[in-house]
């Protein structure tokens, strides 16, 4: 078991090392084989571990090495294996191996295949490190590692200015979140004297009772810690406020979007909050904040997704929105529901992204949906596979019988929110219902714009072609997941076997019964998500297929302000630009031009140099060549020295 987990974690690192440093020696094919092979092995091992842990009751901690020992600060490299980890292992390695395989076809024409494969594997290693972490510092290591890999991969095409800008944006925005995360770790260490999960969790009930003074207020210690950690989660998982980097991150190659910005890295925040459930459970305030932020993100991102034209950006906003669902599930203490949605979402969202990649591939890297259309006959396999992803995302299924993966997980989330019977739960439920409607609408809008109607770009259309097998196989695998994952997993993740499945990896206090209540909600609650989803699909069909007289354009003309507000992404970027970016640039420019060049350089190196030059000029001029000047200088010198003598003698 331990060996299997170690292999899972370190095989990708080894592959990244080989492909990264010996890529030129082993060639493109070699790099693809090494990395994809390593990931496929890791994925197989992950499923083995998942069954052993989830259903066989295995688990434990594998200590690898001592990392930092300084006084009472003791951090080890250790792999923590429990159900939560096992779920993440299968999600990460399965999607990652499929994306690796997909990238073989998708990136075939790229100049630096080994580098790309190495980055992908490096990312996978960091993500695995994150999910197997036994302490907050190791988790932070993985956290920063995935951030780094994300930065490298978004900016993979570094000759594109927009890709560089997006990479920097992702890095900087994540830094804000990471700052909160780091503060949270510091605070927890300060309060508990440890960064190891078990020790911290043990101390949580005590922490809930203490406060510390800050600016004259008594701040509840645990709530403060949880909120700081949640800020980290918000950054990584692109929650409202810190979400701005995610749509821009679509500048990266599509496999990256599928792996990092849909299935795995962005869910790290969800995982972290779930991992820290023994902390969050004792802080109602923190849970409420998580719920409100999650629900707000869900509706915000859905509204923006309605109006975007870039095929990947629509899916990116959809990801953002779905992450919001996961968070408000966590917020109402339905951690298993959140994790369940994380798992199913990984499959269908990766499927959608890879499908979109297949479309983009077919269209020769055209991403604007206005230039697509009518592609369903050209690339039928992609078309049908993407329908599976879309229906899973929209959450189509019949209550009591079953449906696509998203149906099972999204329904239980909404039901839990309703069953929480709290104000924030209600807020989350209603926003979630509206967002479900919007989700169905925009995802079908994507499908109709792309695959139905008339081709808008004849040239691209004529050259469109179905993708190679290496790209289609992963789509089929993920599509299978998108169909059956919810159906198969429901009983274990959120159903009757939930307790024996999760065991100690998730803590839910007895008086937080949203998840249990989810099974006993009124029938209308059970049916409403399906109703709104079908309504959304129908409306989209009416808008984009049925009506031939430009209904969408009429809507836009009818509500120009609303459309512009959504289309401009609620003006977040503009606002941040005004509030943070420009003042930062201004400050930076001031410090640079005036502070560094003006004062430090001016007075320091340059000033001294210029002063020396001037002084040299002055001294040079004294060398007049006239004898009497020289003699005079000597006499003045003697006079000065005598005078100084006489004066200093008096003292």
């Amino acid at each position: 078991m331990d060996l299997a987990v170690k292999l899972i974690v370190f095989l990708p690192l080894l592959a990244a090392f080989v492909a990264g440093f010996f890529g030129r020696a082993i060639g493109d094919r070699g790099a693809q084989v090494v990395t994809t092979g390593a990931l496929l092995v890791a994925a197989a091992l992950s499923w083995f571990v998942f069954f052993k842990v989830g259903f066989g009751g295995a688990g434990g901690t594998a200590r690898l090495a001592t990392w930092i020992v300084s006084g009472t600060f003791d951090v080890a490299w250790a792999l923590r294996i429990d159900t939560l980890t096992a779920v993440m292992l299968i999600v990460v390695t399965t999607v990652s191996s499929m994306v690796h395989l997909y990238a073989v076809g998708y990136m075939a024409d790229d100049k630096s295949v080994p580098r790309f494969m190495a980055y992908l594997s490096l990312f996978t290693f960091a993500m695995l490190m994150l999910v197997t972490a036994d302490n907050l510092v190791q988790m932070f290591f993985g956290w920063e590692g995935v951030g780094l890999a994300s930065y490298l991969l978004i900016g993979f095409w570094y000759d594109r200015p927009s890709a560089n800008a997006a990479a920097i944006k992702a890095f900087v925005v994540n830094r804000v979140g990471d700052f909160g995360f780091a503060l949270g770790i510091f605070a927890l260490y300060l309060l508990t004297g440890s960064v190891q999960f078990d020790a911290i969790f043990k101390a949580a009930p005590e922490l809930a009772k203490i406060t510390f003074p800050l600016l004259g207020c008594a701040v509840p210690a645990l709530t403060a810690c949880c909120l700081l950690l949640f800020i980290g989660a918000m950054g990584k998982s692109a929650q409202l406020g810190l979400h701005t980097w995610l749509p821009d991150a679509m500048e990266g190659p599509t496999p990256v979007s599928a792996l990092i910005h849909a299935a795995t890295m962005v869910t790290a925040g969800v995982f972290m909050v779930a991992r820290c459930s023994p902390l969050f459970e004792y802080s109602q305030v923190a849970l409420d904040v998580v719920t409100v932020v999650g629900a707000s993100t869900a509706i915000f991102a859905a509204t923006v997704g309605l109006t975007q034209y870039d095929i990947k950006r629509v899916i990116a906003y959809s990801t953002c929105s779905q992450l919001g669902y996961m968070f408000f599930a966590l917020g109402v203490s339905a951690y298993p529901a959140g994790m369940f949605h994380l798992m199913t979402h990984a499959f269908f969202k990766a499927l959608l992204f890879l499908g979109a990649g297949s479309v983009i591939h077919a269209m020769h890297h055209e991403q604007d949906m206005r230039h697509m259309g009518g592609l369903k006959d050209k690339i039928p396999q992609t078309y049908w596979l993407m329908w599976i992803g879309t229906l899973a995302l929209a959450g189509i299924g019949i209550p009591g019988i079953g449906g696509f993966a998203g149906f099972h997980s999204k329904d239980v989330i909404l039901e839990s929110a309703y069953a929480a019977h709290t104000a924030v739960g209600g807020y989350a439920f209603w926003l979630g219902i509206v967002a479900a409607f919007l989700t169905a609408f925009y995802s079908c809008r994507l499908m109709f714009l792309t695959f139905h109607g008339k081709p808008h770009d004849k040239h691209h259309y004529d050259h469109a072609h179905e993708s190679p097998p290496s790209m289609l196989i992963p789509l089929y695998v993920l599509a299978a997941g998108a169909i059956v994952a919810g159906f198969l997993g429901e009983a274990w993740f959120v159903g009757h076997h939930e307790k024996e499945f999760w065991r100690a990896s998730i803590l839910i206090l007895p008086d937080h019964h949203a998840l249990h209540g989810a099974h006993d909600v009124p029938t209308w609650v059970k049916w409403s998500p399906l109703v709104v989803a079908v309504a959304g699909i129908g409306l989209a069909w009416w808008f984009y297929v049925k009506s031939s007289f430009g209904l969408p354009k009429m809507m836009v003309d009818a509500f120009p302000a609303v459309h512009r507000f959504f289309f401009k992404k609620w003006y977040f970027d503009e606002l941040y630009d005004l509030m943070f970016v420009r003042p930062s640039f201004w400050l930076g420019r001031q410090l640079w031009k005036k502070g560094d060049i003006g004062i430090i350089d001016g007075v320091g190196p340059n000033g001294l140099a210029a002063g020396s030059q001037r002084l040299a000029g002055v001294l040079g001029r004294t060398q007049s060549g006239y004898l009497y000047h020289y003699a005079f200088a000597m006499l003045i010198g003697v006079a000065l020295l005598v005078t100084w003598y006489m004066l200093s003698r008096g003292r």
Binding site: G620, L627, H629, Y630, M634, G637, V642
Partner: protein, 479 residues
Amino acid sequence: MIGLENWALAGPEIFLVVVAMGLLMFGAFRGERSVEAISWISALALMICVALVVKGNSGTGYNGLFVVNPFNAAMKVLALIGSAVAIVMSRGFMSREGVWRFEYPIVILLATVGMMVMLSAADLMTLYVGLELQSLALYIIAAFQRDNLRSTEAGLKYFVLGAVASCLILYGASLVYGFAGTTSHAGLARVLAEGPPSAGAVIGLVFILSGLAFKVSAVPFHMWTPDVYEGAPTPVTALFAVAPKIAALGLLVAVVMGPFRPLLDQSRQILIAVAVASMAWGAFAAIRQDNIKRLMAYSSIGNMGYVLLGLAAGTEEGIRSVVVYMTIYLVMNLGTFACILAMRRDGIMAETIQDLSGLSRNHPRMALAMLFFMFSMAGIPPLAGFFGKLNVFIAAIDAGLYWPSALGVAASVVAAFYYLRIVKVMYLDPPVRPFDAPMEGVLSGVTFVAAVFVFPFFLVFQSPFLATAQAAAHALFMR
């Protein structure tokens, strides 16, 4: 036979005078053809004199007018070597300029005698006589190229200003005599130690120090240096840069640590002021110089500042650092001037820094040697110049001279600019027309020996130098 020991004591000086007189006769009768022979005999005589000085005993003679001790012996050796090398380096230049006369080496011999006498002075009278002998000889050779306007101007300037400096020393000596009643160094030391120093004696000391500061070209008595260095024939400049500097500095040390030891606190203040001013002036004023001879003038001003800082420490360690510094200074300057003397295109001397452009490609060995000298003067380890400065700073810090040391370090940073600029020009700038080849044998020999001394010889074999310097310094502290 009373007095024989006196003769023995002054043996090297007497030997040198006799040789000079003999050569004068030889030259007068043989005419200009004799110049080759006379120059080589002079150099040989100087080297024999080195042996005599090394073998000679310490002691005081001539009724307390003349003293020999390890310190002045060491300084004499350095001065003699400087003179000898300067003579042999002169040949090519002087013959090309048509001033390769037999008087030239003889005048240098007489100047050297003057240096030795002043170094051995144990009385203000001997001091003055030696100083004047040296100075008068140097005035002559500064203007030796007498149909060259710049050379004569340099000689005249040197003469007039040197006369002013002589006046200062004489006036100071008379004041000291008036207040102390004696001109003997031993007597002065005794009298001045008796009570609080009288104002007259102190002012006399200031005048004497000022006059000597002129000779070592320390600020503010340095003004003659760049003009004379530039104007004088280059081999003469090479001589000026080494032998008289060493002699004058040795004299300064002897005066400050000998008769005026009781006034050390007072002289230290002057020395520090002069040292800091020299270091700074030498560093800053050189930045804009294009003429390499003028640059070397400022370099020597700066170097004298560092030596004076070592002297200002007033400790055995400080004097030791002075001796070591002067040794290294001698070698670096001789090597650099050997290179400068080789800067010649179609028989015309090239004197600007730009003439060194791309030297590394035309004359790689010369450029490498020059690189060593410049790095050494800039005080970059592990070259010899670094150890010279290091010893001075250690001595100064140990004596509590923190601020002057800090200023000295700062000045050396500024000075590094123009030394490194030469390296940059040699190695990074596009090559210009190459210099005349081949380099004269003597010059390349001097360059090679000096470069090897600067690195790695001194790094490896510094202990004998340190030991000699230690013994020399110790002599001044024996009572």
